[in-house]
């Protein structure tokens, strides 16, 4: 049983459009939610993260929203660029523990010029 679920599995958007990736989780004790971006042949790299005490965090073109009641979060990319083409992983953990992250399966994004 997956504790962190992501949708869609893959997505294609046009350059300049808005990308929306979603994530849901099971364990209500999770309170830290990072999004990692992975390009082919590379390791995942932290893109943005949010704690459960917040409902929104923005970093440039990237914004993550958090809904504690529904146990859902989302990643929005505005003005999507071909360079954003990558796999995006949602993850979850409990702060104060040993740093064990539970990852989703990922969403593969393709931004078409």
């Amino acid at each position: 049983q997956q504790q962190v679920r992501q949708s869609p599995q893959s997505l294609t958007v046009w350059e300049g459009g808005t990308t929306v990736l979603t994530c849901s989780y099971e364990d209500s004790t999770f309170n830290y939610f990072p999004w990692y971006q992975q390009f082919p042949g590379e390791g995942p790299a932290l893109l943005i993260s949010i704690l459960s005490v917040s409902d929104k965090k923005e970093d440039g073109r990237f914004t993550t929203f958090f809904n504690k009641r529904e146990k859902k979060l989302s990643l929005h990319i505005i003005d999507s660029q071909p360079g954003d083409s990558a796999t995006y992983f949602c993850a979850a953990s409990v702060t104060g523990n040993t740093g064990k992250l539970i990852f989703g399966l990922g969403t593969t994004l393709q931004v078409q010029p």
């Binding site: 997956q2 962190v4 390791g43 995942p44 104060g96 740093g99």
Partner: protein
């Protein structure tokens, strides 16, 4: 930015042999991690390591697995003996000062057990 290096990038071995995966973490980082990703599945936590000790390990971290970082050199994952189900990409990660800090991941080592 800071880089985690993993050596080798691909390792092919026969079932039953021993394998050591090497990781050169970011120099001033104190926490080290191994994750395993089987093709088509999510990346799964194996173990984390701090101050010379395993802090937590998952059920995937079988008795045949061990980790160490002797004298601040490579952080290694050793599998002895290997099994077919150990075939996966293994990602090493490090973080500077504690859990839930940003993890810096390496490129991964693809392990193929034949």
């Amino acid at each position: 930015g800071p880089k985690v290096l993993q050596i080798p990038s691909h390792q092919i071995i026969d079932m039953g042999q021993m394998v050591t995966l090497n990781c050169d973490p970011v120099s001033n980082h104190l926490y080290f991690y191994w994750y395993k990703q089987i093709l088509g599945q999510q990346m799964e936590f194996l173990v984390n390591f701090y101050n010379g000790k395993v802090m937590e390990k998952s059920k995937l971290f079988k008795d045949q697995f061990s980790v160490e970082r002797p004298d601040g050199s490579y952080f290694t994952l050793k599998i002895q003996p290997t099994a077919l189900e150990d075939s996966a990409v293994y990602f090493c990660a490090s973080s500077p000062t504690g859990p839930n800090e940003r993890l810096f991941f390496g490129h991964g080592t693809k392990l193929s057990v034949l």
